[in-house]
């Protein structure tokens, strides 16, 4: 049974939306922004592809975003754009399933939570930061703001998170749990992850944050692309020709596999395989095909 991609939503250093990614891919390169990383030697400006979520105002009133942290805002924008790309409104999505995947989770809110009791003791831990630091908080914000009351799940498996999410989405459609599902991955370049990047790669390799969301349905009419095989396993055996990775548009790091699938969805001229591999840990492979 096939699954069909009806909408794509993306947000990253190249801007947001299908058109922005299309243009960036045509240009071949996007100038990165930067992240101010505190270190023992002072602030280091790390070149990084940063996501700007101010376009959320088009979809959701500002007041509704009051407790929504940066991580969840990227997810929300990605999801709203995917719905828009599919010709759907960001509301009244009863029965829609929601799958969000992230290797690192909401590290910005995690640090915010720790700050709250570092400063003033355990009894002053911030309940809002705690609630937002949970991996599944972003999906909760999405479900509430988009009215998506179908099954809702958050997954985490490093760079294979996107593949795992798409595999789950397919299963839900095949099992008739949902007739449509919003599925995506999000990674946030918080201060602490920026520090970790700096320490591992210096400033030579440019990291990127953002979100990629798809609206998947079990019907092909009006689809942008077909979701082919999705596999997760221990050893890929190098049998798949890989699609390209465009790190000069959206950066390197945990979000890259997700962006690769988004780019493949746009550049579709025949089958494209996207592979995320962790030596010794396993692989995730996603195949996209042009629509019928």
């Amino acid at each position: 049974m096939s699954a069909w991609i009806h909408g794509l939503g993306v947000v990253g250093g190249f801007g947001c939306g299908r058109a922005a990614l299309e243009e960036a891919l045509a240009q071949g390169r996007v100038q990165p922004q930067s992240l101010a990383v505190p270190t023992g030697q002072g602030i280091v400006e790390l070149p990084a592809y940063r996501a700007d979520t101010s376009p959320l105002e088009r979809f959701v009133p500002k007041r509704a975003l009051r407790r929504v942290d940066g991580f969840a805002r990227m997810a929300l924008l990605g999801a709203c754009l995917a719905l828009e790309d599919a010709g759907l409104a960001p509301a009244g999505n009863a029965g829609t399933g929601l799958i969000l995947a992230s290797g690192q989770g909401a590290t910005g809110s995690t640090l915010g939570l720790l700050d709250s009791f570092f400063e003033a003791g355990d009894a002053c831990a911030s309940p809002i930061h705690f609630a937002n630091s949970l991996h599944n908080a972003a999906a909760a914000h999405l479900a509430i703001l988009l009215g998506a009351d179908g099954p809702c799940i958050t997954l985490s498996q490093g760079p294979r998170s996107m593949a795992g999410a798409l595999l789950t989405a397919r299963l839900w459609l095949e099992e008739g749990r949902v007739s449509q599902v919003l599925v995506g991955c999000v990674e946030e370049l918080s201060e602490v992850m920026g520090y970790a990047w700096l320490k591992t790669h210096g400033t030579l390799l440019v990291p990127g944050e953002g979100a990629v969301f798809f609206l998947l349905k079990s019907t092909p009419e009006g689809a942008r692309a077909e979701l082919g095989a999705v596999e997760l396993g221990a050893d890929s055996g190098v049998w798949l020709p890989r699609g390209a990775s465009h790190t000069q548009i959206y950066g390197s790091g945990p979000m890259t596999p997700g962006f690769d699938v988004a780019a493949a969805c746009i550049l579709l001229q025949g089958q494209i395989h996207c592979l995320a591999e962790e030596p010794g840990e396993g692989f995730g492979a996603v195949t996209l095909l042009p629509p019928l």
Partner: protein, 89 residues
């Protein structure tokens, strides 16, 4: 009942506005008697527990029982009054 000192009410308003991220609430429009929960400012149960922590942190007043202190949370005036009474005790 004497009016609570201006500082507590104003400090509370600023705290609520910044820490609970009420960007669109102008301080001039934030009335002393505006309901804090459900209507008026429109806070909910999660904001309530955050407010308890903020009151502990910034005014050193502990709120142990949410039910007992429910009346105190009605508005900025009642909360400032509650805080000042606890501090004076």
């Amino acid at each position: 009942m004497p009016e609570p000192p201006m500082q507590t009410k104003e400090a509370l308003k600023r705290l609520i506005k910044t820490e609970l991220n009420l960007e669109d609430l102008e301080l001039e429009a934030f009335g002393d008697d505006m309901p804090l929960f459900v209507e008026g400012v429109g806070l909910d149960s999660l904001d309530a527990v955050e407010l308890v922590i903020l009151v502990q942190k910034h005014f050193q007043v502990e709120i142990k029982d949410m039910e007992e202190s429910r009346a105190a949370f009605a508005s900025v005036r009642t909360l400032a009054d509650f805080i000042d009474r606890k501090r004076a005790a």
